[in-house]
């Protein structure tokens, strides 16, 4: 299980991006997606399964993130976007996506990934045009934010694997989950 969380601390101690520890994650993930493509007939189902797995990782990963970083509670979505891009992505994937395309209401933004470590070695075959290869990331983001009382919609708007110029993850704030708000927490 630990290999799914190649934290930056461990990465830095060897070299930066591209060393065996993060490649192990990339390769393991690749094997997982390939297997799911064999197990399920259509790509939609594979996307769904990846998202679900990501969700289950996210609800646990958030604790690891909070325990290791000294990030406090976010008071608006802009702050959340910053923490995700600058702290969380950096910590677990070693990249810093840029935050753009804010909606006027400030409840929607895009994460632009210059490089996506999950797709380092991937070429999408023609018969998998609907596959969202990195759906796991959406699930992770959704699961982790749900644990800190934010219901968020996460999806891939653009993907270099499918011929787009950049990889774009679109995040939309749905609501604050009041029933999960711990008592005595402002």
């Amino acid at each position: 299980m630990t290999i799914l969380f190649p934290s930056l601390a461990k990465r830095d101690s060897v070299t930066n991006r591209g060393h065996s520890n993060s490649e192990l994650f990339t390769l393991t993930y690749g094997a997982l997606v390939t297997q799911l493509c064999k197990d399920y007939e259509n790509d939609e189902e594979v996307n769904k399964q990846l998202d679900k797995m990501g969700y289950n990782i996210g609800v646990r990963l958030i604790e690891d993130f909070l325990a290791r970083s000294s990030v406090g509670r976010c008071h608006d979505f802009r702050e959340t976007a910053d923490v995700i891009a600058k702290v969380a992505f950096k910590m677990y994937l070693g990249i810093t996506p840029s935050v753009t395309n804010w909606s006027p209401a400030g409840d929607e933004f895009s994460l632009i990934l210059e490089s996506n470590p999950l797709v380092d070695f991937v070429e999408l075959p023609d018969n998998h045009s609907n596959l969202v290869y990195s759906s796991l990331l959406c699930g992770v983001l959704r699961g982790a934010l749900e644990m800190v009382q934010m219901a968020v919609d996460v999806r891939f708007a653009q993907d270099t694997l499918r011929g787009d110029n950049v990889t774009e993850i679109r995040m939309k704030f749905i609501k604050r989950i009041e029933e999960n708000l711990p008592a005595g927490d402002e």
């Binding site: 299980m1 630990t2 969380f5 601390a9 609800v59 646990r60 958030i62 604790e63 690891d64 909070l66 325990a67 290791r68 406090g72 509670r73 644990m147 800190v148 999960n180 708000l181 711990p182 008592a183 005595g184 927490d185 402002e186």
Partner: protein, 215 residues
Amino acid sequence: MAIFSVYVVNKAGGLIYQYDNYVPRAEVEKTFSFPLDLVLKIYDEKLVVSFGQRDGIRVLSINGVDVNGKYTAEGKEILEYLKDPANYPVSIRFGRPRLTSNEKLMLASMFHSLFAIGSQLSPEVGSSGIEMLETDVFKLHCFQTLTGIKFIVLADPRQSGIDALLRKIYEIYSDFALKNPFYSLEMPIRCELFDQNLKSALEIAEKAGAFGPGS
């Protein structure tokens, strides 16, 4: 300096982990002749000293045999047994009653509500719940994570470095409970590695009193 015990409470107020880090205080064994110079009574299915030198102390064994609630090992009522002069002299061992797992569960959920009441009663806005509760003999330190899990440590009032210890326990929880694929969320933590790491963290905290980052 000492750290007495650790509790982990989930966001619903359920106790998911408890560890006692101390050996119970010396128990006393004494031989009595008839009549008994203590008043014993039954409280909550247990035999306790209600009047005498040390009230509230529980009867643990009679003539070296452990008692079973208010009955002797043979199943006789202890109070009846002690009324009979033929049974004297008798040797009784006393000690402080230990909390049963049920009592611990109850106290943990009670603290969960107290914590919430603490923030509700607060005269200031934006108050947290109870972070520390102090008594003559121990201090209770509570750390609630953003996700609502509470880590509670009971320690000697003079023990320092508890804040760092609480953070360290959070780290151990995220490493050894949550990354264990067979551990299900919100459920009691039964992970050997979690136990081991928690114990060594407590030892270090007791000795040094402080943690460096990432230690």
